[in-house]
Amino acid sequence: MVPWVYEFHWTAFHVTFLLIFFTVFVTVAATIIIALRRTQQDEQQHRMESIQWHSDFEDLAPAMKVCRHELNGDVQHRVCDNEFDCRSCTLHPVFSARKKKGSLLQYEVYGFSMPPYRLYHRGHTWVQQEDDGTFKVGIDDFGSRIIGRPHSIELPPIGSHLSVNGRGILVRRSDSTIRLLSPIDGEVIGHGNSEKGWYLKVRADNPERATTHLLKAEEVPNWILREMERLQFSFATSGVGATLADGGELVPDFHKHFPKADWDSVLGQMFLEA
């Protein structure tokens, strides 16, 4: 059938059949080669973290992807299609321009310490700008209470580069390892710890646009309310049953009340990791 095999004849049928077969074969092979080549390029261009987040975000349930402007009541229903990066969103500036000024800013939101001078990431980290233009990064009170007492916290080395929604802080517990998303783009220039109340000091790549995607103090109450709801649902799926009450304040020693919960699953859902 193939030209150098004895059954082959230079007829229209043989040639057409071979052409079709080899076209299919070449297309399949070329597609695989393209996928491998692109993988290599992604690696060279350091796109691994954004792809990791893209994959995690895609696996989130639609209820977990709601737009911040839905939480704020600016729009009835909207699922974020920018992977929680409002910097590339065309609607975010429109909604933000409509924002009413003069909301009452609270330090404590439903029992959580959420200082209004900080900006919050949907993955429960915060950012605070310092006088020298650098940014401190920490874990918000809600996130800290869910994590409880970790076995260890792994910070990215000084000099390394963080990208928004890439891997920021790695928290290890006995039952789970969870990555916290970086809230900001920039170079790590210092390490903190839980006593200091912050974990990283970062020099932002572009300070003007560095925090556009982060939640402001007036957006925090609605977001926290939704997070409490999410927490309830995440427990409902982890085999705990009817355990949570009707909202209110999260007690600090949260873990003790749910020793049998699937904490790995709860943490994954709350910190947006598939």
């Binding site: 059938m1 043989h14 299919v24 049953g241 009450a245 909202g247 209110g248 949260f254």
Partner: protein
């Protein structure tokens, strides 16, 4: 270790229970493997086939699983080419089912041919006058495509996705899925068609022989359309079976209804064309070859009831049920109709293989009877056991149903009243209680 392999947020049974589920299938796999060994090592005399009855249970079931596995290509075509996004919920399952069906069919064919070490002959020295050449080439290529489509599902495993290169490769491969979906559709069109065409060109078998439409007999097109009708129904049935076994909701009801609608649309076209084809065969093709068509139904157990069952009971009735939006709302009707569609395809493939070969064609011929040997049955049981094991492992350690997490939350969602009754963890500000009251009343 087992827990670390299970995707985060998905509830799976304990490893011990999973083993209890797998062990009987492994036993069946072992019996099947022994039967395959006997057929390959000692010869095909272990089967009840002979030179006259050369197509037995293996070819009949091969044709059936290839038709049922068509859900992979047709769902892929609808999702990636026609952009029916709702099918994203079942595409992984369709691919796994397709892979099981096609790899199982190829395995059984290797045993059936009896010389697996010479399988490459069919590519190097193909019989260019045989429909089976087209089938062999397309089937092999499509199996490769299915394996490629299966790779991203495996790479979604929790531990494998921790390896950045695998995750990125999965991401890049996924972006190119429309190319594979297109190739899969092209290949499936030809091999499904050629499997049908194979019977349509049997001039010596007037029961199966059909007039040509262009270069292909009508059975070519009937096989393609019937496979496209059965594939979505089989995906629907397997998904609901997995739901029943695991006691979880895995896809939303609208996905089932859409699959049912697609299946119904394709089936009504098939029933129409099959009816026209049968009428032409009864009135023209068969008498033209010297056989009044009803003579074929006067023999032994294959009466006209089989034709009526195939076209009306397992064709027209489920098609009408699936096309009715009111009846599709009722799951009993929906899945019942889906079951009839799959049974109809099975009956059609049975008629084309077993009935065709059983009927006498020469004056001195007798009606042939055939019953499969235990080796033949066990060899096919091997495929079923292998399919169940592969599907179970993929379901346990990868994400087959993307909506499972979301639906798991809906299932587990406790009523707000229940939350309010348990006050061990939360204190109760009145504002929150009021808000939750509002939330509860809107549910």
């Amino acid at each position: 270790m087992d827990k670390l392999l299970i995707p985060r947020g998905l509830q799976r049974t304990t490893f011990e229970k999973f083993l209890l589920w797998i062990i009987p299938w492994l036993a069946l796999l072992a019996v099947g493997a022994y039967a395959i060994y006997l057929c390959l090592a000692e010869g095909l005399f272990h089967t009840n086939m002979d030179n006259r009855f050369a197509f037995g249970i293996w070819i009949f079931l091969d044709l059936t699983v290839i038709a049922l596995g068509a859900g992979a290509f047709f769902t892929g075509f609808l999702l990636y080419i026609l952009r029916r996004k709702e099918l994203k919920a079942v595409i992984n399952s369709a691919v796994v089912i397709g892979l099981i069906c096609y790899s199982g069919a190829v395995l059984v064919l290797m045993v059936d041919v009896g010389q697996p070490l010479r399988a490459w002959f069919t590519f190097w020295h193909p019989n260019t006058h045989s429909m089976l050449t087209e089938v062999t080439f397309c089937l092999t290529c499509y199996l490769i495509v299915l394996l490629i489509e299966y790779v991203p599902i495996v790479l979604k495993n929790r531990q494998l996705r921790q390896i950045p290169k695998f995750l990125v490769f999965e991401f890049e491969l996924h972006k190119l899925m429309p190319v594979f979906a297109g190739i899969g559709t092209f290949l499936s069109f030809f091999h499904q068609g050629s499997l049908g065409g194979l019977f349509g060109v049997l001039r010596g078998r007037p029961f199966a022989f059909r007039e040509e439409l262009g270069i292909w007999p009508s059975t070519f097109f009937l096989f393609v359309i019937s496979a496209a009708a059965a594939g979505p129904s089989f995906v629907m049935l397997t998904t609901t079976l997995v739901e029943k076994i695991t006691r979880k909701r895995l896809v939303k009801d609208e996905v089932y209804r859409f699959l049912g609608k697609v299946s119904g649309c394709m089936l009504i076209i098939y029933v129409l064309l099959k009816s026209i084809d049968t009428l032409i065969w009864i009135n023209s093709t068969s008498p033209g070859n010297g056989f009044p068509a009803f003579e074929f139904y006067a023999t032994q157990s294959f009466g006209t009831w089989i034709l009526f069952t195939e076209i009306v009971v397992l064709g027209l009735i489920p098609a009408l049920v699936l096309l009715s939006s009111r009846l599709r709302q009722n799951k009993r009707y929906l899945f019942g109709a889906g079951f009839l569609v799959c049974s109809g395809i099975m009956l059609n493939r049975f008629v084309m293989t077993i009935q065709t070969l059983a009927l006498p064609t020469l004056p001195f011929d007798n009606f042939l009877t055939y019953a499969p040997s235990w080796e033949e049955v066990a060899a096919f049981a091997f495929v079923i056991a292998y399919g169940v094991i592969l599907y179970s492992l993929t379901f346990r350690y990868s994400v087959i149903f993307p909506q499972e997490r979301e639906l798991g939350q809906t299932n587990g969602e406790l009523s707000m009243r229940e939350f309010a009754q348990s006050r061990s963890v939360f204190k109760q500000p009145k504002f929150v209680t009021r808000l939750i009251d509002t939330f509860s009343s809107t549910k």
